[in-house]
Amino acid sequence: MAKLTTIKEAISLIKDSATVMVGGFLSCGAPDKLIEELAAQNVKNLTMISNDTSFPNVDKGKLIVNKQVKKLITSHIGTNPETGRQMAAGELEVELTPMGSLMERIRAKGAGLGGVLTPTGIGTTIADGKKVYELDNKKYLFEKPISADFALIYGTKVDKFGNIAYFGTTRNCNTVMATAADTVIVQADEIVDCLDPNEVVVPGLFVDYIVSAKEETLAEKTLEASVSGEASSKKAGV
């Protein structure tokens, strides 16, 4: 079951050369506090899998500016000139992947599949060096699954069972990343005792650690008390 912990302790699990998925579409739904701590602990030689690299010195962009990433698998780097600079200088290896293929490759790992057949990229440089299958007169590119040691994801509301609910467009790639990493850490805007099961977007079984985005304003003890306090008294209201 998911364990409530501090941002510092959760991030200290991540060692140099780890592969880390990071959720968020630009800054929307990015686990900014977890990323901040990863930057503070200065873990190096990371392989990062993310939709984008946000902006310089903003969430995911900090890890780039801080030169903590040696390899990046992503769909778009246009919002962060530093990513492009490091790529051009040969300091950072970048694998650009169509966004839909990136998501399906992550899903393939999470779903226990051996890969994905997609029409995306056929006839383009994305197909270079990849197997092409023709099925019913249509060509498909074989794309391999992507896994990670860690997934750092965001949740608007998370309950102590690890169940996650989202507001607005924050869910983006957080949901699929939750399924594909060995250790999943979720940063919650709000931690509640128990979510309405109808609200849950990511089932709690995928989540290993829960941290509060507001922990700097809360004593750790208070947080733990508030989570465990009424745990058994409330039923999962529908």
Binding site: C28, G84, I126, G168
Partner: protein, 259 residues
């Protein structure tokens, strides 16, 4: 982040059309492609301007790859919520009937053939329906984002761009820039004209090429290529021929482009 706008940079064309006027002509024309109830995904930049010219009472749902079907107006002021954005990262309102979803669902919609039309900018488009809009070798490439999936999956792919860049035709016989997708473009709209792309696919209901089925006949022969459907009255057919490096046929129903 669906796609970069491509080169839309020059200020005023030789014909004296201002950049603003060029964008207006293109966006107005593209807006006519939608019909009531369509679900449409727009690229960033010029394609987004299409929303300005939709008829007031027409209900078109705009889909965004970051997880919103029913994108509304840009939201400004103090009550913006950073938790509701469009694919360009801007804060937006949501329309009645809107819904949120994750990235997987976004691409089930986009790649899976559930989007009625997409409007995208381009660096080049060619007579085979190929599109190049994500990369220029030797220059910084921002990445394709969701553009490759979208172009492959959308039912109708509409390319909007200036006719020329630095005097060079952007409508070419064969793209020499890296492709976004092969043989997927249906319509090319510039400030000077509208080309329909005959993809020669003649697909049946299951998407199988007619040419590969027993029903294939002379009547469905794969002609292919560009067909000039409309001309901006400010230009002549000769003008279009002179500024278009791709070969094309002229439609029997050639019309004036409404500008």
């Amino acid at each position: 982040m669906v796609v970069q706008e491509g080169i839309m940079a020059e200020t005023t064309s030789k014909e004296g059309l201002s950049k603003e006027k060029i964008r207006e002509i293109i966006a107005k024309r593209a807006a006519k492609e939608f019909k009531e109830g369509d679900v449409v995904t727009l690229g960033i930049g010029l394609p987004t301007e299409v929303t300005k010219y939709l008829p007031e009472n027409m209900n078109v749902m705009f889909q965004s790859e970051n997880g919103l079907l029913g994108v509304g107006k840009d939201q400004t002021g103090d009550d913006t919520d950073p938790r509701v954005i469009n694919a360009g990262g801007g804060f937006v309102e949501i329309k009645k009937g809107a819904c949120f979803y994750d990235s997987q669902m976004a691409f089930i919609m986009m790649r899976g053939g559930h989007i009625d039309a997409t409007v995208l900018g381009a660096l080049q488009a060619d007579s085979e329906g190929n599109l190049a809009n994500w990369s220029i070798p030797g220059k910084f490439t921002p990445g394709m984002g969701g553009a490759m999936d979208l172009v492959v999956g959308a039912k109708k792919v509409i390319v909007v761009m200036e006719h020329t860049s630095k005097g060079e035709s952007k409508i070419v016989e064969r793209c020499n820039l890296p492709l976004t997708a092969s043989r997927e473009v249906n319509l090319i709209i510039t400030e000077r004209c509208v080309f329909r792309v005959d993809l020669g696919k003649n697909t049946d209901s299951t998407g199988v090429l007619a040419s590969k089925t027993a029903e294939f006949s002379e009547n469905t022969a794969l002609t292919g290529g560009l067909i000039l459907e409309e001309i901006n009255p400010m230009f002549s057919l000769e003008d279009i021929k002179a500024c278009t490096s791709a070969s094309f046929r002229v439609s029997e129903n050639l019309k004036e482009m409404e500008i």
